[in-house]
């Protein structure tokens, strides 16, 4: 079982290099896309198998448990949840891409970069030491910069350059924070840093400086509101499967997951960090929603809505940290907050990638991304429209779909922890989200077809399979709430809370 953990990283990375090689080997060229699909599928199966394995600590490269150095891979409840999310969304996206990417040249390059990004994200969620976390954040980020610019049109290059500059500055701040923590504690391993910080005291100025640098860098990767400027340009400019990966999992794996891991597992909860998370989550929720309602470009609306929905997750994490940092830590409320937040993270990954993929298939058939030029697509593209509608209902929190349950749990947890104002804002943003997606339904699917979309036809089968796959999860995750909680979310929350004293 332990041997499977490094394979989760090695398999996609190895397959990426293999694809680059066979792309230059004549007749083997056709195998690149099937190989990419196979690699992601095997990775998903391994991640699923590890669910029943308990928490694993694997030391790579001959280092042992007793040594202060070494590369540790930690596969606990939270890592397992993230591995399932990453590889499942990656599978849906790469299946969608088999048909969608046909209009591009050099698809092998896309496949290789896609696998690099997937493998690096799997490594980010498995990393047990801070420097490894930084390195794999960078690998995932470099692949994503190149993928945003994949079309090489002027808008795409402009968005990718903006993303590249801001992302690199963010990474430099993460490394700065890691350096400061190393100089204070002499460790890179997360558990050991956390132990050493308890003796130094979490309020000493050096620790706060290091913590602030890391949190600022990670918030930039998660596109929380003061740092969100790159996201609405970068996510819509990428090809649709990549938009789904970026909005669905990249901002979560390299932003939200890393924030949660660093705050709970390394720095230790303190009112400073809790308040920063709450403030960023709140601002993102509200501003993201207002900016999204005003958009007329379908993919841009979805990108702003990502900022708003990720705000919910960060808010829930912040309130959990706040509940644990009180004089009398309230573990039950913190666990409920984390359950809601992580469930919303899972749900947002499914329905936002579903909506981005649906927008891609609509864009391909209708040749437009502007809402006002679409219309009447529910008759022209029945499968895509049905899936798009389920995704929109889920994200706007209509029962019995999954988005309703996660928002409900977050709001109940906010009330229980005594934050009635935050709960009211949460309800308000949920109503705003509903309005935003009623607008999408009204302009895209209903009404009379305009001349521009009269020729639109149903998307090819491969794209529909990917959409249906995500739709099934959207419907089932809401109904299978209790088994999913026991299998995925309770161990994930325990992994975060268990790291605290």
């Amino acid at each position: 079982m332990e041997q499977l953990v490094p394979l989760l990283v090695a398999l996609p990375l190895g397959a990426a290099f293999l694809i680059v090689m066979i792309a230059h080997a004549g007749p083997l060229k056709r195998l690149t896309t099937p190989l990419a699909v196979l690699a992601v599928l095997v990775n998903l199966l391994i991640a699923g198998r590890l669910l029943w394995a308990g928490a694993l600590h694997v030391y790579v490269g001959g280092w042992g448990q007793g040594q202060t150095l070494g590369i540790e891979l930690v596969c606990d409840g939270l890592s397992k949840l993230m591995l399932i999310v990453i590889n499942f969304v990656a599978l849906a996206s790469i299946i969608f891409a088999t048909q969608y990417m046909r209009r591009f040249t050099k698809v092998w390059l896309f496949d290789a970069l896609f696998l690099l990004m997937t493998g690096a994200m799997s490594a980010v969620v498995l990393a047990g030491d801070m420097f490894n976390l930084f390195v794999f954040l960078e690998v995932a980020a470099i692949a994503s910069y190149a993928l945003v610019a994949f079309g090489c049109e002027s808008e795409e290059l402009e968005a990718a350059f903006k993303y590249l500059i801001l992302g690199t500055v963010g990474s430099a701040f993460i490394l700065l924070g890691v350096t400061i923590l190393y100089s204070l504690t002499g460790h890179l391993n997360m558990a050991k840093i956390s132990e050493a910080l308890r003796t130094i005291g979490p309020d000493s100025p050096g620790v706060l400086l290091g913590g602030a640098a890391i949190i600022a860098g990670l918030a930039l990767k998660a596109a929380m509101v003061p740092f969100h400027a790159w996201l609405p340009d970068a996510h819509p400019s990428a090809p649709a499967p990549i938009s789904a990966m970026l909005s669905g999992v990249l901002i979560k794996a390299s932003g939200v997951y890393a924030l949660a891991r660093v705050v709970f597992g390394v720095l230790g909860v303190s009112p400073y960090y809790a308040n920063i998370l709450i403030a960023m989550g709140l601002l993102s929720m509200v501003l993201g929603m207002f900016l999204a309602i005003g958009q007329w470009d379908f993919k841009r609306l979805l990108a702003y809505s990502s900022i708003s929905q990720v705000g919910y997750v960060v808010l829930a994490l912040g309130v959990a940290a706040e509940a644990m940092s009180r004089a009398a830590p309230d573990r039950t409320v913190a666990a409920l907050c984390l359950f809601g937040g992580l469930f919303h993270l899972f749900n947002h990954a499914t329905f936002k990638s579903l909506l981005f993929l649906a927008s891609g298939s609509i864009e391909q058939q209708a040749h437009t991304r502007l809402l006002k030029e679409m219309g009447g697509l529910s008759r022209r593209m029945p499968v895509t429209s049905f899936c798009c509608r389920i995704g929109a209902l889920s994200i706007s929190g209509v029962p019995p779909f999954n988005g309703f349950f996660s928002k409900l749990i977050i709001i109940i947890a906010l009330v229980l922890s005594g934050h009635n104002v935050l709960a009211a804002v949460g309800i308000g943003v949920a109503v705003g989200t509903l309005l935003m997606y009623i607008k999408v339904q009204r302009y895209v699917l209903e009404g009379e077809p305009s001349d521009a979309v009269a020729a639109a036809r149903e998307a090819p089968a491969g794209m529909c399979i990917a959409l249906v796959l995500l739709t099934i999860v959207c419907i089932c995750a809401g109904l299978a709430l209790v088994p999913l909680r026991d299998l995925l979310f309770t161990p994930a929350g325990e992994a975060l809370l268990g790291a605290l004293p």
Binding site: E153, L157, E158, I165, T168, A172, L175, T179
Partner: protein, 118 residues
């Protein structure tokens, strides 16, 4: 030397940050990002430094404990090496994107490269 060298490193970081925020020329922005990168690498080396320390190479007859007494910390040096390699990859990507942007827009001025709206 004391704290001065750390303050100077911090000043280098601020110079880079100022360039990224204030300048509008793509090439200058790239230089700014590189300066930030160098400042962080410099800090990383400084963290492992000790005055009068020797290079952390184990000579014959010397035990690891002896070396730990006199040598500088080798771990930050390994990290700096990794960080420099990542910086190289990022620089190559930034420069190639700048070339492509120049082909499309015919300028390096960020004020004239704005097809995307707010």
């Amino acid at each position: 030397m004391g704290i001065t060298i750390y303050l100077l490193t911090f000043a280098v970081l601020l110079v880079g940050l100022y360039i990224v925020v204030a300048k509008k020329n793509i090439i200058k922005i790239i230089v700014g990002v590189l300066i930030i990168d160098y400042a962080v690498n410099l800090l990383l080396v400084l963290v492992g430094y000790r005055s009068d320390g020797v290079a952390p190479i184990l000579s014959p007859g010397q035990t690891a404990a002896d070396l730990a007494e006199t040598g500088v910390d080798p771990l930050p040096q390994a990290m700096v090496l990794t960080s420099i390699v990542i910086g190289l990859g990022i620089t190559a990507l930034m420069v190639s994107m700048a070339i492509r942007l120049h082909q499309k827009y015919g300028t390096f001025d960020m004020n004239r490269i704005r097809k995307l709206r707010g």
